[in-house]
């Protein structure tokens, strides 16, 4: 064990000396997290979640139009958005870009047209600089229109068949749209934490490469011969590399967790003990996977290239660049074959305000990744050293 620590210490000194580990492990992910946050974070309304400000101009005032106004008001009360009612489109237009991102106009006679079985339209006007907010406003309007249409068809069908519509009339059947806080429901991370953690776990796989590839670099540089000739067990050489990889990973992740909380507004990783558990198991999983890659490669360069490809693929599948849903589709299922997804999921659980035990399932999955890949890599590397 002492020999392994000495080898790890030597490698750490070299990595710190050439600054490669610091750049890859800390500076690059921190810089990217900050950049991503400021570039894309605004699309999500900044650090605190949705920050949508809308106007509603209900020129109709009928039973068909008022449900939309009501739902928007309820959404405001739930803290999902801010809505301002305007008597006419003039004041709404004046407020556009200043106080509101977009406004929805329900024209006069809209209700009569719908009840009469005629086509009707809703108008959404958005600020050119608030495209995401405008798109969301458009989606709300479309959802409402779809509800109106289905209600109208149900009413007409029922009348044609000589019965009554389920809701009695198209106005009350029309709109069943409901806005809910999906972030709270699915325990997703807020944008600040998402980008910070995503970049941290993405770069983690590159950081641990500095450790696991060390064995191949020693082989390339001829120093492995001397290590193997020394009166130390061969396992000490492999262990030394694994220890360094683990240490670099933990140091980098810890620095990132702490620094992003200080630098990026709204970044909140959650209960420290749970975060520590996820970091430790996440780093072990990364060491296991990259160790397996290194054991299968013939050269340090080959292992570096293969490792980078795998890190990017796992990162994308794991949802570190864009959030992937938790549904039944293939992509959603595939995401759970990556440690990244489990790490983010674990943080998501903690971000919901839960205590550290909420991270246990994700930590267990990460530990399993580490165990399986690490064991295979260990066997392959030792076999390689014997040959």
């Amino acid at each position: 064990m002492l020999a392994a620590l000495r080898i790890a210490g030597k490698d750490l000194k070299l990595r710190l000396r050439d600054r490669s580990a610091i750049i890859t492990g800390v500076i690059a992910p921190l810089a990217l997290a900050v950049i991503f946050y400021f570039v894309f974070g605004s699309a999500f309304g900044g650090a605190g979640g949705l920050d949508l400000e809308y106007g509603i101009v209900d020129l109709d005032g009928s039973e068909v139009s008022t449900p939309l106004v009501g739902v928007l008001v309820e959404a405001e009360e739930a803290g999902l958005l801010v809505v301002e009612e305007y008597p006419d489109r003039g004041p709404a237009e004046a407020a556009l870009g200043e106080e509101i991102d977009a406004y929805i106009v329900i024209p006069q006679g809209f209700g009569d047209l719908v009840v009469g079985g005629n086509a009707a339209s809703i108008e959404v006007v958005g600020d050119v600089d608030a495209q995401t907010s405008t798109l969301i406003a458009g989606s709300i309007a479309e959802q409402y229109a779809a509800g109106v249409e289905s209600g109208r068809l149900a009413f007409i069908t029922a009348q044609t068949l000589g019965g009554a519509s389920p809701a009695g009339d198209p106005a009350t059947a029309a709109f069943s749209y409901e806005m809910v806080d999906m972030a709270a429901e699915t325990r997703q991370l807020n944008p600040a934490t998402y980008f910070a953690a995503g970049m941290a776990v993405f770069f983690l796989f590159f950081t641990v490469q500095f450790g696991v590839l060390g064995l191949l670099e020693e082989e390339r540089d001829g120093t492995l011969t001397r290590l193997l000739a020394a009166p130390i067990g061969r396992r000490a050489v492999v262990s030394g590399k694994a220890i360094l990889a683990f240490a670099l990973g933990v140091i980098a992740m810890t620095v990132l967790a702490v620094s992003t909380q200080l630098i990026i507004p709204g970044a909140e990783w959650g209960a420290p003990l749970g975060v520590a558990l996820l970091i430790v198991t996440g780093v072990l999983a990364a060491v296991g996977i990259m160790g397996l890659v290194a054991s299968a490669a013939k050269t340090a360069e080959g292992a570096g290239n293969l490792g980078s490809i795998i890190a990017v693929i796992l990162g994308m599948l794991g949802g570190v660049f864009f959030q992937i849903g938790t549904g039944e589709d293939l992509l959603s299922r595939l995401t759970f074959v990556t440690p990244h997804a489990w790490f983010m999921r674990g943080l998501g659980e903690l971000a919901g305000g839960a205590d550290w035990t909420a991270a246990l399932p994700a930590a267990g999955a990460l530990g399993l990744f580490a165990l399986v890949t690490g064991a295979i890599g260990w066997v392959l590397v030792n076999r390689r050293l014997e040959s």
Binding site: R6, L14, D221, P231
Partner: protein, 312 residues
């Protein structure tokens, strides 16, 4: 003389290839033993087994009574290895390299620093102790490579072609270091394909080719195998192969072989037949650019035993 190394009947297979075939060696304290052979003869594989880097397919190695294998740690403590390729960290200083490997060999911190300075003195790098190795010249790196091998005062020092690619000045310094280590009682196993080095340094030499020891003994013992014949080296261009054929038919010539630019001929009393020899070679269509007549040496022994020159 107490035996430091005994290697018995070493065999090593790499798939279908038999790289080492029944090699046996023994080296006593203060003795320098040369393993002389061309590239690919099996020298490096043999010393890799002796150093515990490779597990032999058969046979065994003992150093100071300790069995050596890839898993042994006790026996390796007695061995210092200087690999053919540089095995030092370019981004560490000379002193840091020595200290790191010293710790791996279990050297205590209090004595380590003094020993590092001592070794740096021996290899002539004391002035550059705190410079990064990547700033060293090729010869300095070679010397540090040797320094690491002898840092922990091994009983057996294995040097695998330590002078390959080294400038003459550094080469001489390396050879002098080996001579002084031997005088201090260290057993040295020295592999080379340079006949001059083997003749200068080694008390005994084993001639190895195609994984087999063809002969072993002191220089005098080996030379006697050739039968005190003289060696004539004729350099030139043209039909060297057919010239070798013609020369073989001359009286007193026992061997003749052609390389790219020369003829190597073994003969009794070469000076007496030299005019005939030269006219035969010239007549065979060789344009002669140089002639050298030397007394029997290890190169001649190698040629005699294997039918080819050392640098083939």
């Amino acid at each position: 003389m107490a035996e430091v190394l005994t290697a018995n009947n070493l065999v090593k297979h790499f798939g279908d290839i038999k790289a080492v075939d029944g090699v046996s060696l023994s080296i006593g304290a203060g003795e320098t033993f040369g393993l002389l052979g061309p590239n690919g003869a099996g020298k490096t594989t043999t010393i890799s087994i002796i150093a515990g880097l490779l597990e032999p397919s058969a046979g065994e190695v003992n150093v100071i009574g300790e069995r050596i294998s890839t898993r042994s740690t006790m026996g390796k403590q007695h061995i210092g290895l200087v690999p053919q390729d540089l095995a030092i960290y370019p981004d560490m200083t000379g002193a840091e390299n020595l200290a790191f490997f010293g710790r791996l060999y279990g050297m205590a911190s209090d004595g380590l620093s003094d020993r590092v300075d001592e070794v740096l003195d021996v290899v002539g790098l004391a002035e550059r102790r705190d410079d990064l190795v990547k700033e060293y010249s090729g010869g300095m790196k070679r010397r540090l490579n040797i320094g690491v091998g002898l840092l922990h005062k091994p009983r057996l020092l294995i040097l695998d072609e330590p002078t390959v690619g080294v400038d003459p000045q550094s080469r001489n310094a390396i050879l002098e270091s080996v001579e002084s280590l031997s005088e201090e009682g260290m057993a040295v196993l020295y592999t080379t394909h340079y006949m001059e080095e083997a003749e200068r340094l080694c008390d005994r030499v084993a001639i190895i080719d195609e994984g087999t020891v063809r002969a072993e003994g002191t220089r005098r013992e080996l030379v006697s195998i050739v039968g005190e014949k003289d060696r004539v080296a004729i350099t030139g261009g043209g039909a060297l192969g057919s010239a070798a054929e013609s020369v073989r038919s001359l009286p007193t010539v026992s061997e003749a072989s052609a390389t790219d630019h020369s003829l190597e001929i073994l003969a009794d009393d070469a000076s007496a037949i030299l005019p005939t020899l030269l006219s035969t070679v010239s007549g065979a269509g060789v344009s002669i650019s140089g002639v050298e007549v030397v007394e029997p040496n290890l190169e001649a022994v190698f040629l005699h035993l294997t039918g080819k020159a050392l640098r083939d």
